[in-house]
Point group: C2
Chain length 186, copies 2
């Protein structure tokens, strides 16, 4: 399936490349990012998704939809990344390697919209340097929207972001012993 014809981003004067952070303890952070991705897709944006989650089993639904839509690069840490031949067993190494690749693609202006899913966790764990992330995202060249999701976004990141939403849990079925299920949770 071919993606829509690309409208050069930043062409309209009102356009501005945004750094969007979706954080908080509630459900709906990643799904919100993927929903926004659909809008970028419809505009023909070159889209890159980096999922900083360990298990490759999760979030298969949105990946399948992205494949169907076409024109979306999708990289998953859970599968060990596609571009590295090294056998990185450790999550810390995998996360660092993922971030280094993201930096290369930002530098190359590979995408109009870059989605860093669950990327707060490698920062929280100290695997990826927050200052490096803040500097890289703040000083990114050209016109690149960036959407970053995950709990506990560091304050320094919130400070440089254009749009920050916090998803707060009001009620969750897990609390009542209802388990996650395919079609909703992944």
């Amino acid at each position: 399936m071919s993606a829509p014809e690309r409208v050069a981003p930043g062409e309209k004067r009102r356009d501005r490349a945004l750094l969007i952070v979706i954080t908080g303890g509630g459900k709906g952070k990643s799904t919100s990012a993927f929903g926004t991705m659909l809008r970028g897709w419809a505009r023909g944006y070159r889209i890159g998704v980096f999922q900083f989650v360990k298990s490759g089993k999760w979030k298969v639904g949105e990946h399948r939809a992205a494949r169907e839509l076409g024109g979306i690069d999708w990289e998953k840490m859970g599968d060990g990344w596609t571009w590295t031949s090294r056998d990185l067993e450790q999550s810390a190494d995998l996360a660092r390697e993922g971030w280094e690749e993201v930096k290369r693609r930002i530098s190359a202006e590979a995408y109009d919209l870059l989605l860093l899913d669950e990327f707060t966790y490698p920062m929280s764990f100290g695997w990826v340097d927050v200052d490096d992330v803040v500097r890289t995202l703040r000083d990114r060249p050209g016109f690149q929207h960036v959407i970053l999701t995950g709990r506990d976004a560091p304050q320094a990141l919130i400070d440089v972001a254009d749009l920050v939403s916090e998803v707060r849990k009001v009620k969750h079925p897990f609390d009542e012993g209802i388990r996650g299920q395919q079609g909703i949770e992944w």
Copy 2:
């Protein structure tokens, strides 16, 4: 484009039809619902989307993506709904007519996943009766996931929901005079 083969929902014992409410004043409610929709789509769910927004101009991105994915019914109040030949000029009448159709489809178990986008507004405006909505959704037959978005979800609805997330605004580019832009906002 044909949708994935349908896995009968409720087939696994862990599955339970959920009523999901995404509310709050922050950005990312509808996009979160559409992201979740991708997961249902990947499972071959029969999906119905009802957008209770006045303007047909908004949210074209996700509609375009849904058309491309296939297997998703999409009804927009902004276009006057597709099924009614009556010329309903008033938003109140349009919203009521939309809700009556939703009730018919729920009763017919037309979908495995039903998305009522921005549906809190007709309730807040008093166009659609909250008790009727609560009763209808609570007592829906069979296996039907329902996702409902919009600010100020009524407490009675939250009470019967399984999952409620509140999206809180931490920072928004509109505050700094940056206007909405295609590819992100719609």
